[in-house]
Protein backbone atom coordinates (compact mmCIF):
# COMPACT_ATOMS: atom_id res chain seq x y z
CA UNK A 1 0.00 0.00 0.00
CA UNK A 2 2.77 2.35 0.83
CA UNK A 3 4.33 1.77 -2.56
CA UNK A 4 2.29 4.59 -4.10
CA UNK A 5 5.25 6.88 -4.08
CA UNK A 6 8.47 6.84 -5.95
CA UNK A 7 10.40 5.22 -3.12
CA UNK A 8 9.24 1.69 -3.70
CA UNK A 9 7.91 -0.67 -1.08
CA UNK A 10 9.43 -0.39 2.36
CA UNK A 11 10.20 -3.20 4.68
CA UNK A 12 7.00 -4.34 6.31
CA UNK A 13 3.75 -2.47 6.38
CA UNK A 14 3.31 -1.07 9.88
CA UNK A 15 7.00 -0.59 10.49
CA UNK A 16 7.27 1.38 7.29
CA UNK A 17 4.80 4.02 8.42
CA UNK A 18 6.81 4.74 11.52
CA UNK A 19 9.90 5.41 9.42
CA UNK A 20 8.37 8.71 8.46
CA UNK A 21 8.51 9.84 12.09
CA UNK A 22 12.09 8.90 12.81
CA UNK A 23 13.57 12.34 12.22
CA UNK A 24 14.37 14.85 14.88
CA UNK A 25 13.13 18.32 14.08
CA UNK A 26 16.10 20.44 13.10
CA UNK A 27 16.14 24.24 13.24
CA UNK A 28 14.94 24.53 9.64
CA UNK A 29 11.91 22.39 10.43
CA UNK A 30 11.18 24.46 13.54
CA UNK A 31 11.31 27.66 11.48
CA UNK A 32 9.12 26.07 8.80
CA UNK A 33 6.25 25.29 11.17
CA UNK A 34 5.16 28.89 11.86
CA UNK A 35 5.43 29.63 8.13
CA UNK A 36 3.08 26.72 7.40
CA UNK A 37 0.71 27.97 10.09
CA UNK A 38 0.69 31.38 8.45
CA UNK A 39 0.03 29.75 5.07
CA UNK A 40 -2.93 27.90 6.61
CA UNK A 41 -4.34 31.23 7.76
CA UNK A 42 -3.61 33.03 4.52
CA UNK A 43 -5.12 30.22 2.48
CA UNK A 44 -8.34 30.52 4.44
CA UNK A 45 -8.34 34.33 4.36
CA UNK A 46 -7.83 34.29 0.61
CA UNK A 47 -10.71 31.85 0.13
CA UNK A 48 -12.89 34.17 2.19
CA UNK A 49 -11.81 37.25 0.22
CA UNK A 50 -12.52 35.51 -3.08
CA UNK A 51 -15.82 34.28 -1.64
CA UNK A 52 -15.06 30.67 -2.44
CA UNK A 53 -17.41 28.19 -0.73
CA UNK A 54 -14.56 26.23 0.84
CA UNK A 55 -12.51 26.39 4.04
CA UNK A 56 -9.07 25.85 2.51
CA UNK A 57 -7.51 26.23 5.95
CA UNK A 58 -5.08 23.30 5.68
CA UNK A 59 -2.95 24.17 2.68
CA UNK A 60 0.00 25.09 4.85
CA UNK A 61 -0.46 21.92 6.86
CA UNK A 62 -0.43 19.77 3.74
CA UNK A 63 2.50 21.64 2.22
CA UNK A 64 4.47 21.32 5.44
CA UNK A 65 3.80 17.61 5.50
CA UNK A 66 4.88 17.16 1.89
CA UNK A 67 8.04 19.18 2.43
CA UNK A 68 9.16 18.01 5.81
CA UNK A 69 7.18 15.06 7.08
CA UNK A 70 4.52 14.25 9.68
CA UNK A 71 6.01 16.11 12.63
CA UNK A 72 6.00 19.41 10.77
CA UNK A 73 2.64 18.80 9.08
CA UNK A 74 0.99 17.58 12.28
CA UNK A 75 2.30 20.40 14.47
CA UNK A 76 1.37 23.00 11.88
CA UNK A 77 -2.20 21.71 11.72
CA UNK A 78 -2.51 21.41 15.48
CA UNK A 79 -1.16 24.85 16.27
CA UNK A 80 -3.13 26.54 13.48
CA UNK A 81 -6.21 25.11 15.10
CA UNK A 82 -5.17 26.19 18.61
CA UNK A 83 -4.53 29.74 17.52
CA UNK A 84 -7.73 30.08 15.56
CA UNK A 85 -9.71 28.51 18.41
CA UNK A 86 -8.32 31.07 20.77
CA UNK A 87 -8.94 34.03 18.52
CA UNK A 88 -11.62 33.74 15.87
CA UNK A 89 -13.21 30.32 15.91
CA UNK A 90 -13.46 28.54 19.28
CA UNK A 91 -15.92 26.07 17.81
CA UNK A 92 -13.04 24.58 15.84
CA UNK A 93 -11.20 23.63 19.02
CA UNK A 94 -12.43 20.02 19.35
CA UNK A 95 -11.40 19.43 15.74
CA UNK A 96 -7.74 20.05 16.52
CA UNK A 97 -7.10 16.33 16.46
CA UNK A 98 -8.42 16.22 12.88
CA UNK A 99 -6.02 18.96 11.80
CA UNK A 100 -3.23 17.04 13.48
CA UNK A 101 -4.20 13.87 11.64
CA UNK A 102 -4.37 15.62 8.27
CA UNK A 103 -0.87 16.98 8.79
CA UNK A 104 0.41 13.56 9.74
CA UNK A 105 -1.26 11.98 6.72
CA UNK A 106 0.29 14.58 4.41
CA UNK A 107 3.64 14.00 6.09
CA UNK A 108 3.54 10.26 5.58
CA UNK A 109 2.53 10.82 1.97
CA UNK A 110 5.35 13.31 1.57
CA UNK A 111 7.90 10.93 3.01
CA UNK A 112 6.92 8.16 0.62
CA UNK A 113 6.65 10.51 -2.31
CA UNK A 114 2.96 9.88 -2.96
CA UNK A 115 2.61 13.37 -4.37
CA UNK A 116 4.99 12.48 -7.17
CA UNK A 117 2.88 9.82 -8.87
CA UNK A 118 -0.71 9.85 -10.03
CA UNK A 119 -1.85 6.81 -8.04
CA UNK A 120 -0.07 8.34 -5.07
CA UNK A 121 -1.81 11.67 -5.43
CA UNK A 122 -5.18 10.03 -5.51
CA UNK A 123 -4.23 7.90 -2.52
CA UNK A 124 -3.16 11.02 -0.63
CA UNK A 125 -6.46 12.74 -1.42
CA UNK A 126 -8.50 9.70 -0.42
CA UNK A 127 -6.54 9.29 2.81
CA UNK A 128 -7.02 12.91 3.78
CA UNK A 129 -10.73 12.89 2.97
CA UNK A 130 -11.19 9.71 4.99
CA UNK A 131 -9.26 11.10 7.93
CA UNK A 132 -11.22 14.35 7.85
CA UNK A 133 -14.66 12.86 7.37
CA UNK A 134 -14.35 9.81 9.60
CA UNK A 135 -12.68 11.88 12.29
CA UNK A 136 -15.13 14.75 12.18
CA UNK A 137 -18.34 12.76 12.15
CA UNK A 138 -18.26 11.58 15.79
CA UNK A 139 -17.46 15.15 16.83
CA UNK A 140 -20.33 16.43 14.74
CA UNK A 141 -22.70 13.93 16.31
CA UNK A 142 -21.69 14.98 19.79
CA UNK A 143 -21.65 18.72 19.21
CA UNK A 144 -24.34 19.28 16.65
CA UNK A 145 -26.40 16.12 16.76
CA UNK A 146 -24.83 15.08 13.46
CA UNK A 147 -24.85 18.31 11.50
CA UNK A 148 -21.59 19.48 9.99
CA UNK A 149 -22.23 23.16 10.62
CA UNK A 150 -22.17 23.89 6.92
CA UNK A 151 -25.50 25.16 5.69
CA UNK A 152 -25.42 23.35 2.37
CA UNK A 153 -24.66 19.90 3.75
CA UNK A 154 -27.00 20.28 6.70
CA UNK A 155 -30.05 21.35 4.72
CA UNK A 156 -29.56 19.45 1.48
CA UNK A 157 -28.13 16.19 2.77
CA UNK A 158 -28.49 15.74 6.51
CA UNK A 159 -32.07 16.95 6.95
CA UNK A 160 -33.70 15.06 4.08
CA UNK A 161 -31.84 11.84 4.92
CA UNK A 162 -32.77 11.88 8.58
CA UNK A 163 -36.33 12.73 7.64
CA UNK A 164 -36.36 9.77 5.30
CA UNK A 165 -35.38 7.48 8.14
CA UNK A 166 -31.71 6.96 7.41
CA UNK A 167 -29.55 6.33 10.51
CA UNK A 168 -28.24 9.56 11.99
CA UNK A 169 -24.60 8.50 11.84
CA UNK A 170 -24.84 7.80 8.11
CA UNK A 171 -26.63 11.05 7.36
CA UNK A 172 -24.01 12.83 9.44
CA UNK A 173 -21.16 11.15 7.61
CA UNK A 174 -22.54 11.98 4.18
CA UNK A 175 -23.20 15.55 5.30
CA UNK A 176 -19.59 15.89 6.44
CA UNK A 177 -18.34 14.18 3.29
CA UNK A 178 -20.20 16.61 1.07
CA UNK A 179 -18.09 19.37 2.53
CA UNK A 180 -14.82 17.46 2.75
CA UNK A 181 -14.79 16.07 -0.77
CA UNK A 182 -14.46 19.44 -2.54
CA UNK A 183 -12.56 21.20 0.25
CA UNK A 184 -9.85 18.59 0.65
CA UNK A 185 -9.64 18.08 -3.10
CA UNK A 186 -8.74 21.71 -3.70
CA UNK A 187 -6.50 21.68 -0.62
CA UNK A 188 -4.50 18.70 -1.83
CA UNK A 189 -4.41 19.95 -5.43
CA UNK A 190 -3.23 23.42 -4.41
CA UNK A 191 -0.78 21.93 -1.93
CA UNK A 192 0.79 19.69 -4.56
CA UNK A 193 0.81 22.43 -7.21
CA UNK A 194 2.57 24.78 -4.82
CA UNK A 195 5.01 22.04 -3.87
CA UNK A 196 6.04 21.59 -7.48
CA UNK A 197 5.93 25.33 -8.05
CA UNK A 198 8.70 25.81 -5.51
CA UNK A 199 12.30 26.07 -6.69
CA UNK A 200 14.16 22.78 -6.46
CA UNK A 201 16.44 23.91 -3.71
CA UNK A 202 13.54 24.56 -1.33
CA UNK A 203 12.28 21.04 -1.75
CA UNK A 204 15.72 19.64 -1.04
CA UNK A 205 16.30 22.08 1.79
CA UNK A 206 13.32 21.22 3.93
CA UNK A 207 13.22 17.52 3.44
CA UNK A 208 14.36 16.27 6.79
CA UNK A 209 15.45 13.04 5.20
CA UNK A 210 18.40 12.93 2.86
CA UNK A 211 18.16 10.57 -0.01
CA UNK A 212 20.88 11.83 -2.37
CA UNK A 213 22.72 8.99 -4.05
CA UNK A 214 26.44 8.66 -3.51
CA UNK A 215 28.09 11.66 -5.13
CA UNK A 216 31.17 11.96 -7.25
CA UNK A 217 34.15 13.61 -5.58
CA UNK A 218 33.81 17.39 -6.06
CA UNK A 219 36.49 19.10 -8.14
CA UNK A 220 38.70 21.76 -6.55
CA UNK A 221 37.34 25.30 -6.72
CA UNK A 222 39.89 26.49 -9.27
Amino acid sequence: MLAFGDQGPRRGYTLGVLDAFKFRLNTLAIVLIPVCIAIDWAGHALATTLKLPLFLDSIGTVLGGLLAGPWVGGLAGLITNFISSGTVDPIAAPYCVISLAIGIAAGIGGYYGWHKTWPGRIALYVLIVLVASIGSTPLNINLYGGQSGVAFGDTVIYAPLVKAGWPTWLAAYLDELSGDLPDKLITVVVGILIFFGLPNRYRALFSVWRRSPAQAEPAPAS
Partner: protein, 259 residues
Protein backbone atom coordinates in the same frame (compact mmCIF):
# COMPACT_ATOMS: atom_id res chain seq x y z
CA UNK B 1 2.25 43.82 15.44
CA UNK B 2 1.29 40.57 17.09
CA UNK B 3 -1.53 42.34 18.88
CA UNK B 4 -3.56 42.18 15.70
CA UNK B 5 -4.33 38.56 16.32
CA UNK B 6 -4.88 38.46 20.03
CA UNK B 7 -8.20 39.10 21.72
CA UNK B 8 -6.52 40.14 24.92
CA UNK B 9 -8.25 43.07 26.57
CA UNK B 10 -6.25 44.97 29.13
CA UNK B 11 -7.63 44.79 32.64
CA UNK B 12 -6.86 44.31 36.33
CA UNK B 13 -9.50 41.87 37.45
CA UNK B 14 -8.69 38.81 39.50
CA UNK B 15 -8.96 36.80 36.34
CA UNK B 16 -6.48 38.98 34.51
CA UNK B 17 -4.02 38.51 37.31
CA UNK B 18 -4.55 34.81 37.79
CA UNK B 19 -1.98 32.28 36.68
CA UNK B 20 -2.58 31.18 33.09
CA UNK B 21 -2.70 27.58 34.27
CA UNK B 22 -5.61 28.39 36.56
CA UNK B 23 -7.50 29.99 33.72
CA UNK B 24 -6.64 27.11 31.43
CA UNK B 25 -7.97 24.57 33.89
CA UNK B 26 -11.04 26.72 34.43
CA UNK B 27 -11.75 26.88 30.69
CA UNK B 28 -11.20 23.19 30.08
CA UNK B 29 -13.20 22.01 33.04
CA UNK B 30 -16.06 24.39 32.23
CA UNK B 31 -16.18 22.94 28.73
CA UNK B 32 -15.95 19.39 30.03
CA UNK B 33 -18.71 20.01 32.57
CA UNK B 34 -20.91 21.64 29.95
CA UNK B 35 -20.58 18.56 27.78
CA UNK B 36 -21.07 16.12 30.65
CA UNK B 37 -24.15 17.83 32.06
CA UNK B 38 -27.32 15.82 31.44
CA UNK B 39 -29.82 18.52 30.55
CA UNK B 40 -30.17 22.01 29.15
CA UNK B 41 -30.87 23.43 32.59
CA UNK B 42 -27.54 22.27 33.93
CA UNK B 43 -25.73 23.56 30.87
CA UNK B 44 -27.47 26.89 31.22
CA UNK B 45 -26.18 26.94 34.78
CA UNK B 46 -22.60 26.49 33.61
CA UNK B 47 -23.12 29.21 31.03
CA UNK B 48 -24.50 31.55 33.68
CA UNK B 49 -21.45 31.00 35.88
CA UNK B 50 -19.19 31.69 32.90
CA UNK B 51 -21.01 34.89 32.05
CA UNK B 52 -20.75 36.05 35.66
CA UNK B 53 -17.00 35.49 35.50
CA UNK B 54 -16.82 37.33 32.21
CA UNK B 55 -18.68 40.28 33.70
CA UNK B 56 -16.41 40.16 36.71
CA UNK B 57 -13.43 40.38 34.39
CA UNK B 58 -14.88 43.52 32.89
CA UNK B 59 -14.96 42.26 29.32
CA UNK B 60 -18.58 41.28 28.97
CA UNK B 61 -19.61 43.73 26.30
CA UNK B 62 -16.71 42.99 23.96
CA UNK B 63 -16.92 39.28 24.55
CA UNK B 64 -20.64 39.13 23.89
CA UNK B 65 -20.21 41.07 20.67
CA UNK B 66 -17.70 38.57 19.34
CA UNK B 67 -19.42 35.52 20.81
CA UNK B 68 -22.84 36.35 19.42
CA UNK B 69 -21.37 36.90 15.97
CA UNK B 70 -19.89 33.43 16.08
CA UNK B 71 -22.81 31.68 17.75
CA UNK B 72 -25.66 33.14 15.75
CA UNK B 73 -25.14 31.29 12.45
CA UNK B 74 -24.66 27.88 14.05
CA UNK B 75 -27.54 28.37 16.47
CA UNK B 76 -29.90 29.29 13.67
CA UNK B 77 -28.72 26.31 11.64
CA UNK B 78 -29.23 23.99 14.59
CA UNK B 79 -32.79 25.16 15.22
CA UNK B 80 -33.70 25.13 11.55
CA UNK B 81 -32.37 21.65 10.92
CA UNK B 82 -32.88 19.80 14.19
CA UNK B 83 -36.36 21.15 14.71
CA UNK B 84 -37.25 19.74 11.36
CA UNK B 85 -35.19 16.59 11.09
CA UNK B 86 -34.14 15.18 14.43
CA UNK B 87 -34.50 11.40 14.72
CA UNK B 88 -36.59 11.60 17.87
CA UNK B 89 -39.10 14.14 16.58
CA UNK B 90 -42.65 13.36 17.65
CA UNK B 91 -44.53 16.37 19.02
CA UNK B 92 -45.49 19.03 16.49
CA UNK B 93 -44.98 22.61 17.58
CA UNK B 94 -45.73 24.52 14.40
CA UNK B 95 -45.72 24.05 10.69
CA UNK B 96 -44.81 26.18 7.69
CA UNK B 97 -46.60 24.39 4.93
CA UNK B 98 -44.82 21.08 4.34
CA UNK B 99 -42.05 21.92 6.82
CA UNK B 100 -43.09 20.80 10.26
CA UNK B 101 -41.20 21.65 13.44
CA UNK B 102 -41.11 19.39 16.46
CA UNK B 103 -40.53 20.05 20.11
CA UNK B 104 -37.91 17.33 20.61
CA UNK B 105 -35.74 18.66 17.83
CA UNK B 106 -36.04 22.24 19.03
CA UNK B 107 -35.24 21.18 22.59
CA UNK B 108 -32.19 19.34 21.32
CA UNK B 109 -31.16 22.36 19.31
CA UNK B 110 -31.38 24.50 22.42
CA UNK B 111 -29.36 21.95 24.36
CA UNK B 112 -26.66 21.78 21.68
CA UNK B 113 -26.58 25.54 21.24
CA UNK B 114 -26.14 26.10 24.95
CA UNK B 115 -23.24 23.67 25.08
CA UNK B 116 -21.56 25.39 22.17
CA UNK B 117 -22.17 28.74 23.84
CA UNK B 118 -20.34 27.42 26.89
CA UNK B 119 -17.46 26.30 24.67
CA UNK B 120 -17.21 29.74 23.09
CA UNK B 121 -17.57 31.73 26.31
CA UNK B 122 -15.14 29.56 28.24
CA UNK B 123 -12.54 29.87 25.49
CA UNK B 124 -13.03 33.60 25.20
CA UNK B 125 -12.87 34.01 28.96
CA UNK B 126 -9.35 32.72 28.67
CA UNK B 127 -8.41 34.66 25.54
CA UNK B 128 -9.74 37.99 26.74
CA UNK B 129 -7.89 37.85 30.04
CA UNK B 130 -4.56 36.32 29.08
CA UNK B 131 -1.69 37.85 27.17
CA UNK B 132 -0.38 35.61 24.37
CA UNK B 133 3.18 36.09 25.64
CA UNK B 134 2.03 34.81 29.03
CA UNK B 135 0.57 31.66 27.51
CA UNK B 136 3.85 30.56 25.96
CA UNK B 137 5.82 31.62 29.05
CA UNK B 138 3.54 29.65 31.37
CA UNK B 139 3.70 26.60 29.13
CA UNK B 140 7.48 26.74 28.99
CA UNK B 141 7.70 27.14 32.74
CA UNK B 142 5.68 23.95 33.00
CA UNK B 143 7.97 22.03 30.68
CA UNK B 144 7.13 22.93 27.09
CA UNK B 145 10.36 22.83 25.10
CA UNK B 146 11.73 26.33 24.33
CA UNK B 147 11.81 25.41 20.65
CA UNK B 148 8.06 24.76 20.72
CA UNK B 149 7.57 27.95 22.69
CA UNK B 150 9.41 29.69 19.88
CA UNK B 151 7.07 28.12 17.33
CA UNK B 152 4.06 29.56 19.16
CA UNK B 153 5.53 33.02 19.64
CA UNK B 154 6.78 33.19 16.09
CA UNK B 155 3.43 32.04 14.70
CA UNK B 156 1.60 34.82 16.52
CA UNK B 157 3.82 37.42 14.86
CA UNK B 158 4.08 35.86 11.45
CA UNK B 159 0.35 35.33 10.90
CA UNK B 160 -0.59 39.03 10.79
CA UNK B 161 2.53 39.77 8.71
CA UNK B 162 1.57 37.11 6.18
CA UNK B 163 -2.03 38.29 5.99
CA UNK B 164 -0.75 41.79 5.30
CA UNK B 165 1.54 40.46 2.59
CA UNK B 166 -1.41 38.60 1.10
CA UNK B 167 -3.21 41.92 0.79
CA UNK B 168 -0.24 43.51 -0.94
CA UNK B 169 0.14 40.61 -3.35
CA UNK B 170 -3.55 40.90 -4.14
CA UNK B 171 -3.17 44.58 -5.00
CA UNK B 172 -0.11 43.88 -7.11
CA UNK B 173 -1.72 41.04 -9.03
CA UNK B 174 -4.91 43.00 -9.56
CA UNK B 175 -2.87 45.86 -10.96
CA UNK B 176 -1.43 43.31 -13.39
CA UNK B 177 -4.90 42.39 -14.53
CA UNK B 178 -5.85 39.46 -12.33
CA UNK B 179 -9.64 39.15 -12.04
CA UNK B 180 -10.79 38.58 -8.49
CA UNK B 181 -14.48 39.24 -8.97
CA UNK B 182 -17.20 37.79 -11.08
CA UNK B 183 -18.19 34.21 -11.65
CA UNK B 184 -17.10 31.41 -9.34
CA UNK B 185 -14.80 30.05 -12.02
CA UNK B 186 -13.06 33.38 -12.43
CA UNK B 187 -12.63 33.87 -8.71
CA UNK B 188 -11.37 30.33 -8.31
CA UNK B 189 -8.81 30.87 -11.06
CA UNK B 190 -7.36 33.73 -9.06
CA UNK B 191 -6.59 31.52 -6.08
CA UNK B 192 -3.36 29.92 -7.21
CA UNK B 193 -1.83 33.11 -8.71
CA UNK B 194 -2.40 34.69 -5.34
CA UNK B 195 -1.26 31.79 -3.16
CA UNK B 196 1.93 30.81 -4.95
CA UNK B 197 3.75 34.16 -4.67
CA UNK B 198 2.62 34.33 -1.05
CA UNK B 199 4.06 30.94 -0.23
CA UNK B 200 7.28 31.70 -2.09
CA UNK B 201 7.92 34.95 -0.26
CA UNK B 202 7.07 33.29 3.05
CA UNK B 203 9.61 30.55 2.45
CA UNK B 204 12.41 32.62 1.00
CA UNK B 205 13.87 33.75 4.29
CA UNK B 206 13.52 30.53 6.24
CA UNK B 207 17.02 29.27 5.61
CA UNK B 208 18.57 32.54 6.73
CA UNK B 209 16.29 32.70 9.74
CA UNK B 210 17.29 29.21 10.77
CA UNK B 211 20.99 30.05 10.45
CA UNK B 212 20.57 33.27 12.43
CA UNK B 213 18.78 31.36 15.18
CA UNK B 214 21.49 28.74 15.46
CA UNK B 215 24.15 31.42 15.60
CA UNK B 216 22.40 32.71 18.72
CA UNK B 217 22.29 29.33 20.39
CA UNK B 218 18.69 28.38 19.65
CA UNK B 219 17.98 24.86 20.82
CA UNK B 220 20.73 24.52 23.39
CA UNK B 221 19.71 21.82 25.85
CA UNK B 222 19.95 24.05 28.91
CA UNK B 223 17.44 24.33 31.68
CA UNK B 224 15.25 27.24 30.78
CA UNK B 225 15.29 30.22 33.12
CA UNK B 226 11.87 31.79 33.67
CA UNK B 227 11.67 35.27 32.21
CA UNK B 228 9.20 36.43 34.81
CA UNK B 229 7.12 34.89 37.56
CA UNK B 230 3.37 34.51 37.66
CA UNK B 231 1.36 35.16 40.74
CA UNK B 232 0.29 31.74 41.93
CA UNK B 233 -1.59 31.59 45.23
CA UNK B 234 -2.89 28.72 47.35
CA UNK B 235 -6.55 29.46 46.57
CA UNK B 236 -5.68 29.14 42.88
CA UNK B 237 -3.96 25.86 43.55
CA UNK B 238 -6.99 24.57 45.41
CA UNK B 239 -9.33 25.83 42.72
CA UNK B 240 -7.38 24.04 40.00
CA UNK B 241 -7.54 20.75 41.83
CA UNK B 242 -11.22 21.19 42.65
CA UNK B 243 -12.09 21.90 39.02
CA UNK B 244 -9.91 19.10 37.74
CA UNK B 245 -11.59 16.62 40.08
CA UNK B 246 -15.07 17.92 39.32
CA UNK B 247 -14.84 16.63 35.77
CA UNK B 248 -14.30 12.92 36.49
CA UNK B 249 -16.80 13.27 39.34
CA UNK B 250 -19.39 14.55 36.88
CA UNK B 251 -18.63 11.73 34.47
CA UNK B 252 -19.07 9.16 37.20
CA UNK B 253 -22.30 10.84 38.25
CA UNK B 254 -23.60 10.58 34.69
CA UNK B 255 -22.74 6.92 34.53
CA UNK B 256 -24.43 6.28 37.85
CA UNK B 257 -27.59 8.02 36.72
CA UNK B 258 -27.43 11.78 37.05
CA UNK B 259 -30.31 13.16 35.00
Amino acid sequence: MAGGLSLYAEGHSLLHRAHPLTKGVLTLSAIALAFTAPSATWVAGVLAVLLVLVAFAGVIRRLLAVAVAILLPITVLLFVVQGFANASNRTVVFGLGPIVYYREGLAFAAFAALRIACLVCATFLFSFTTRPADISEALMQRGLSPRMGYVLQSALQIIPQTLEMAGRIQDAQRARGLETEGSLRRRARAYLPLMLPLVLSSLVATQERAMALEVRGFGLPVKRIARYAFRDTTPQHVLRWALALAVPAAIVARVVGWR
